[in-house]
């Protein structure tokens, strides 16, 4: 059984059909690319997959569970994590705390145990700290763990967002333009990290990216959307030579 099965997904904003008849099947551990010109509906698809928007039609099945229209918080528990195109960190909190919030549903103790500083507080906080630091280390952020998230440079903020998403122990990770605003060196490093994360955590990753070479090199399968509809699907090679894709990108830019 596939990890994610999306069928006939659609949503309209007023008169605008932002996404229409969108189908997608992602296998466990797959690296999947979602590309298309600006305004094609890519972020909207992410927003439907994570419950930020409720689709007007269609189904989203994650690992056998129908999560269509569920609240974001429940979908996170079901196993989808994401980053945002315009970074959304907990700016006034430390880097470490950002990841600890991500661990919220992985390590539990009650509010009362926290206020009364019961033994479970210390025990679970230790576990949480260890897990969070291990994640930060993967992204080279362990040295800045105590800093406020908003004080990090842009590239580090993007990484922190990924670390926080991974903290939720997802089955599927959605990355919305993770390389945006990065220089070629940082982009290459990011590609390495993405591959490493997939291998280490054994999760599937669906990513939106404008940088075509980044997607082509990294992703095993690519789906191309334009005006809310799928216009091409296949391996990097297949997609690259598809006339519709070439037209959409040339027309779009």
């Amino acid at each position: 059984m596939a990890l994610l099965e999306v069928s006939n997904l659609g949503i309209a904003f007023g008169g605008l059909q932002a996404v229409d008849k969108f189908d997608l099947t992602i296998e466990k551990g797959q690296l999947f690319g979602l590309i298309g010109p600006n305004g094609a509906g890519k972020t909207t698809i992410f927003n439907m997959l994570t419950g930020v928007y409720k689709p007007n039609e269609g189904d989203i099945i994650l690992d056998g569970q129908n999560i269509t229209g569920m609240q974001p918080q429940k979908i996170s528990k079901a196993g989808i994590a994401r980053t945002f195109q315009n970074i959304r960190l907990f700016n006034d909190m430390s880097v470490l705390d950002n990841v600890r919030v991500g661990l919220h549903n992985q390590v539990h103790y009650s509010t009362v145990a926290g206020v009364l500083r019961l033994p479970s507080f210390y025990e679970k906080e230790n576990i949480m700290r260890g897990k969070a630091m291990a994640l930060l280390k993967i992204f080279g952020l362990d040295g800045v763990a105590k800093q406020k998230a908003s004080n990090l440079p842009y590239g580090m903020q993007r990484k922190l967002e990924i670390a926080r998403a991974l903290a939720t122990n997802p089955k599927l990770l959605l990355l919305d333009e993770p390389a945006a605003g990065m220089n070629p060196n940082e982009t290459a490093e990011l590609a390495e990290t993405v591959r490493f994360v997939r291998d280490k955590f054994g999760i599937a990753i669906l990513l939106i990216e404008h940088d075509m070479s980044f997607v082509m090199e990294l992703c095993e399968k690519i789906v191309v959307v334009d005006y809310g509809r799928i216009i091409a699907f296949g391996t990097a090679q297949e997609v690259r030579n598809n006339p519709k894709v070439i037209a959409a990108y040339l027309g779009g830019e």
Binding site: T50, G51, V52, Q71, P72, Q73, S76, K77, A81, R82, F84, R88, L89, F90, N91, D92, M93, D97, R100, V101, G102, H104, N105, V107, H108, Y109, T111, G114, V115, L116, R117, F121, K124, E125, M128, G143, V144, K146, Q147, N151, L152, P153, G155, M156, R164, A165, A167, T168
Partner: protein
């Protein structure tokens, strides 16, 4: 554990506790040496109550990031329910037992109102809480102003009209008498009790902030959409923060009520709510120690408040507008933060600067 191993927050909290304890000791020493003026010793319990009010409001405003304009309403609920209980009980129980029960009742009653308001309102996004709490404060005040409750051999009598409408027999005595409030309250509150409650409040709030629950609450403040995306139950954690905040205001109300012979509703009006909000804003959003200091200083210096009594409404309006802007605009937030950094102690400022520049190099 030695001091160096403590985290930054733990060290900061330690300073806060030490400060409060030191203030308590100094005041006790001054009192023992008979160096406290009458007006100041009369202010000691109100100061403790206002400190608890400011700290608890900061939990809603600074930590959760929701605006509340009716915090005095919760204080009022705590004051009336606890005073009602202690007056109704009279001498039937030993004083310490009455006191503990009365304060617990005040806290729970205010907490229940917090839940009742929070459940419908905290689901919504936007400044609805500000509007509803504002209305709540006024409604509670007017309701309590109109309430008559008495007790006689047949039980409790309630009326919204006047005392005679209670229709009690000759054993009857009135407990709540409309706008005249509750009279004959046992003045059980002492400065030491107030101090203990301040410390208790600090423990609850500071421990809450630095826990899994507190981080969930702050994550909602910082970015609700991101908080949801990592599986935070936004409504639940908003409700926890708001309810704890309301319950602590009820505790402050209980403390305050039992320092007065007469408890009247008009003491807990809109102006009081705004005054507490001013403490929080002056002390710094989310800065618990700041709230303690601001509440204590601004209560203890009545001259200061009296001198700007003429401008009070103007100041309120400006604070309110700033509050709204605070919530909307990151630029204003940064601007105010910049001013804050500059006003802070020089050494602190330099350390912060050094940290920033080293982080720049790492990036």
């Amino acid at each position: 554990m030695n001091l160096k191993n403590l985290g930054r927050t733990a060290r900061r909290n330690l300073v806060t506790y030490s400060m409060v304890i030191a203030a308590y000791i100094i005041i006790q020493v001054l009192a023992a040496m008979d160096l406290l003026s009458n007006s100041l010793s009369g202010q000691l319990i109100p100061i403790c109550a206002y400190v608890i009010m400011a700290v608890s409001l900061n939990l809603t405003v600074g930590v959760l990031g929701e605006l509340s304009l009716g915090h005095a309403g919760f204080m009022s609920v705590g004051a009336f329910s606890s005073a009602f209980f202690s007056v109704a009980v009279g001498d039937a129980l030993p004083t310490p037992v009455t006191l503990v029960l009365a304060f617990a009742i005040g806290m729970i009653a205010a907490g229940v109102f917090g839940v009742l308001i929070g459940i419908p309102v905290l689901r919504l996004q936007g400044d609805y809480l500000a509007i509803v709490t504002l209305a709540f404060g006024e409604i509670i005040k007017n309701l309590l102003n109109a309430f008559y409750i008495g007790v006689d051999s047949t039980g409790f009598h309630v009326s919204m009209k006047d005392a005679t409408a209670l229709k009690m027999d000759e054993t009857g005595r009135i407990i709540i008498k409309g706008a005249q409030g509750i009279t004959g309250v046992n003045r059980m509150s002492t400065f030491t009790i107030g101090f203990v409650l301040v410390v208790l409040t600090l423990i609850i709030v500071l421990n809450l902030i630095k826990s899994r629950t507190g981080r969930a609450i702050m994550s909602i403040r910082d970015n609700r959409i991101a908080a949801e995306s990592v599986g935070i139950n936004v409504t639940k954690y908003k409700l926890i923060a708001f309810t704890v905040s309301a319950a602590l205001a009820g505790l402050a109300g209980s403390l305050y009520a039992h320092s007065l012979a007469t408890v009247v509703a008009k003491k807990f009006d809109y102006n009081t709510s705004i005054l507490i909000l001013v403490f929080v804003v002056v002390g710094g959003m989310g800065n618990i120690r700041g709230s303690v200091i601001a509440a204590a200083v601004l209560t203890v210096l009545p001259e200061l408040l009296r001198s700007f009594a003429d401008y009070r409404m103007l100041v309120y309006a400006i604070v309110l507008i700033l509050m709204m802007l605070f919530k909307q605009s990151p630029q204003i937030k940064n601007f105010c933060r910049g001013i804050g950094e500059r006003l802070r102690l020089g050494s602190l400022f330099h350390r912060r600067k050094a940290e920033n520049s080293s982080s720049g190099k790492e990036g």
